[in-house]
Structures are given as C-alpha cells and as structure tokens.
Symmetry: C2
Subunit: 182 residues, 2 copies
Amino acid sequence: MAQKNKLQFIILGLLNQQPLTGYDLTKAFDSEIGEFWQAQHSQIYPQLKRLESQGYITHEITISGEKLEKKLYHITPTGQALVRDWITTGTPELTASKDEFILKLYFVQTNQDPRLPEMLTEQLQLHTEKLAHLKMRLKTVFPTVTAQKVHYGHYLILQHALGREQYYVEWLQQTLAALPTV
Amino acid sequence: MAQKNKLQFIILGLLNQQPLTGYDLTKAFDSEIGEFWQAQHSQIYPQLKRLESQGYITHEITISGEKLEKKLYHITPTGQALVRDWITTGTPELTASKDEFILKLYFVQTNQDPRLPEMLTEQLQLHTEKLAHLKMRLKTVFPTVTAQKVHYGHYLILQHALGREQYYVEWLQQTLAALPTV
DNA sequence: CCATCCATGTAAGGAGTTACATGATTGG
DNA sequence: CCAATCATGTAACTCCTTACATGGATGG
C-alpha cells in the first residue's frame, strides 16, 4: 500500500555510480538530487539495511582517522539489474506536485486584494535568490561543454531546475506587473 | 511533528468561498486545486470532523432525493480568521517538489544512451497531452477577460499550471533535439 | 435495469518529518 | 580547544495512499 518505494531506486541509482556511505547519500539529497527528490538520513539508514538484506547492496567498513567506522555501500549485480529495470520501465504517472504559495493565491478572490503585492514580492525575492544560486552552480560545475557531456545526467537536471525556476520568476514578475495600479 | 497540516487550511480556504460537502471538496482536489495539492476523500472526511470539533466549521444536513443525506459544511468566523492568517503569513519555505522522471535522466550517464530517445519521447507525449488539456480548460473556463477578473485566483493557478507545463514540454523538445544523431 | 456517479465513512500500512541520541574528526 | 562537520542510528508521530465497506440517485 501507500505509494511505491521510489527511494530505494534512487539510492541504488546513486550507488550505481560509485560506492557511498549513508552520510554521502544524505548529502546528495540536499544538493544535486535535492531539486527533484528529498530524503532525510532517518529514512536513508533503514532503507540501506533493507536493501542489503535483500541482496541489492553490500557494505564494507572503512576506518577514518583513529576509529571512526564508515559503512561504504556497494551495489551488487542484482541491484544493478534493478536500477536498469527502473530506468527502462516507462514513467507514465506524472509525479504530482504541491505548491502552498500558489494555493494561497487561489484563495485571494480579487486582483484588488491589498495583500497581493507583498505576497508576490516575497516569493519573487525567494525565487530570484534560488535562481541566482542555480545559475552560479551551473557555471561552476559545468564551465565547459565537455564537462556537460561527462556528467550528462547531472547537467540535465541542474539545467532543468534552472529553467523551471526561471519560469517561476518570470511568472511572478508578470503577475505583479499585471496588478491594477493603486 | 512531521509537516504542518496544510490540508486543513486548504479545506478552510475552499469552504471560505462557499459551503461544500466532503464529496465536493474531494472533487476540487482532482480538478481545480489538483495541479498544486492532492488529497483523497479518506484524508478529507476525518479532517472535516477535526475542523468541526475545533469550531472552525459547522455542518448542515441536506437531503438529496428521497433520503440521501449530505453534510454541507460551512466555515465559522473563527475559521475565516484562520484562513486569513494563513494567507497573510509569509510562505518562506519553497515547497520541495519531486519528479521521478527527471531523476531517471540523472542516472543516465551519457547522452549516447540508446534509451534516451524513447524515454524523452514518452514524457513529451504525456506532457503535451496535459498541456493541450490545460489550454482547453483555460479557454473554456475563462473565455473573456472579465471572467478572469471574477475568478481571479482560479485564473492565476490555471494559467500558472499551463506555463509550467509549457516549459516542461519545451525543455523535453530541446533536450531531444540536442541528442547526438545516431 | 443497470452502469455511473453521488455520498460518506473506516482500516491498514507505507512514506516522510522531526526529534532524540551518541560519538569521532578536522581545521582554524 | 572548540566549533563545524562527519558519521550512524532509533523513536515518535504525522502525512498520505490504497483498500475495504456501504448505500442512494440519476440518466439512458
């Protein structure tokens, strides 16, 4: 029941690129991957155990410094097959998204509402900042066309996130501009 | 714990426009509102009870036909105050979104991958259909500029959803076009 | 008459968040 | 030395989905 466990595939996908620790995975979910999927470490560690018990991954213990143990997870051939299947299988359900702010706008009944300018301006600032941030990241991570080809998938999603944000900013600007002048 | 109950505000927002039954609310979540928030009836009915016990809404029983009882929910002044607060309070947390398909692309390591064309084409079709659907709805629901002003919030979100979809379609097209020719 | 929709609920379970808990390492 | 980060886990709780369950109304 409930929705299908997609987190497992994403973890496997990440481990398919290189061995990682739970901590590394957690970081991935709030940097690269974070634009399109989120997960906390409290969700990741148990999932790793489950994947290991199912034979999709194994771990190797490495020592950092004097005695800090790290579990470096590796994907197994079975795990690799699972990732391939997941990617190859179609994705017919357009993942539904939520946006609290847009809904608030929905409940504003008229374009005369005095709260609109500040509401839109706040979001414009937030999204403009995020856009700037994404632009910078794209520039630093993929300075050359060659780099884009080497980490193709990473380039694609960063660039998609940027375009999405760009749209949001432009929409906010247009909506603000279209408000009746007081 | 876990995230703040936003569903309650959305329900109150809807009831603030007009009295509705649980069934009506459920429908709203898979039509108008559905682009930006989703909820099933199994989540809505219990929430209505909670809101009523807290004094934010009341219900009135109406009879359809011979004996079918409907509960028509009305918002109370306290409920209205709560909606106002929710809307007026800033929305600094950009609701994180998920997109399974984009993640699959992330795991495709190179733009030479033979699976890419079909993957992108499938999504292009899905999103093109959705875009067409949204365009039609915008045209039928808001044929005139006057209609846009009367249901301003509704117009805003429909038009935002459309633009968002437009971007997605264009991005897919560009990404497809940029693939190396075989 | 019968399929589709209207209408309302509950149960079970997985997904996801926040908080609790602990300890080592590194760099300034 | 001390703050920030690395590193791993569990507990509690809410959110959300799927399934179970029931019955009336409507239109062709």
